[in-house]
């Protein structure tokens, strides 16, 4: 029997790795990959709650389905945005997208 805290700690590790990726990557596609890792960590936590805390209704798993829906939409729109930016600026690096600055 694996205690619930092990799953939560795995989720926390994955989320921290995702935050690190978002903070340090220059490539916008790499940032998107890190965001997907963070959403996966959240899903892991939700499934753990549905397995150990709210066992009768599976609400956590239903919520994880919604998180996956949002993740899929976010990936589609985000990658389309990156392609549009690449087309107009010839770059995919987040620190090059600074034309709105002074």
């Amino acid at each position: 029997m694996i205690p619930m805290t092990h799953y939560l700690i795995l989720g926390a590790v994955l989320f921290a790795i995702g935050v690190f990726g978002v903070l340090t990557r220059r490539n916008a596609i790499g940032i998107l990959i890190a965001i997907e890792i963070m959403l996966g960590a959240v899903n892991l936590n939700l499934v753990a709650f549905s397995r150990f805390v709210e066992t009768s209704t599976l609400n956590g798993q239903v919520f994880a389905v919604f998180v996956m829906t949002v993740a899929a939409g976010e990936a589609a729109v985000g990658l389309a945005l990156i392609l549009a930016l690449y087309r107009s600026m010839r770059a995919v690096f987040a620190d090059r997208f600074n034309i709105l600055k002074w």
């Binding site: 990959i33 397995r51 994880a64 996956m68 939409g73 389309a80 087309r87």
Partner: protein, 171 residues
């Protein structure tokens, strides 16, 4: 739950967790973005194995379908449609490596403190659900509004992606 399962399940979990973390680190730290996308695919397959350990079989299958089948393919399409992103001379990280590492280490320590401090229920016996049937019933009864809003969201994402991805005709 049989005796061998009691012995084997924690070992399986430890191996899966270790591999998941290794692939996640590869997905955020490798220089070549294409390798990052492949490491992300491996990470999500391993994460779905962890879901199986928690009796979430439907979600494990959906995870592989959506993340590995759709999102990784999208990411790889975006990588091959943009160019000169993986050459050796281009820096892949910004100046925030050390502060970023400190921030996410602090985040992890804080989360660990909360997880350790909260009194989670221990030794909850596994309830054998017919997960597909129960999730389907929940989606179409209790969470019907959210289900409908999700369909509108997906439609908006579809239209938005097509609009943004379309080549705009310049005069």
């Amino acid at each position: 739950m049989s005796g061998t399962e009691l012995l084997v399940a924690p070992l399986v979990f430890k191996i899966l967790a270790l591999l998941t973390v290794i692939f996640a680190v590869m997905a955020v730290a490798l220089r070549n973005v294409f390798h990052c996308a492949l490491a992300m695919a491996a990470m999500f397959i391993l994460l779905s194995c962890v879901f199986v350990l928690m009796d979430a079989d439907f979600l494990a299958v959906v995870q592989v379908l959506i993340y590995v089948g759709a999102i990784v393919v999208l990411v790889i399409f975006a990588i091959v449609l943009t160019e000169k992103i993986s050459s050796e001379t281009i820096r892949q990280t910004n100046q925030l490596v050390i502060p970023g590492f400190l921030i996410c280490a602090a985040l992890f320590v804080g989360a660990l403190y909360v997880i350790r401090g909260a009194g989670w229920p221990s030794d909850v016996p596994a309830v054998q659900h017919d997960t597909i049937k129960l999730i389907g019933t929940q989606l179409l009864s209790t969470h019907l509004e959210a289900f409908e809003v999700a369909s509108v969201l997906l439609l908006a994402a579809l239209v938005g992606a097509v609009f943004l991805g379309k080549e705009i005709n310049k005069k």
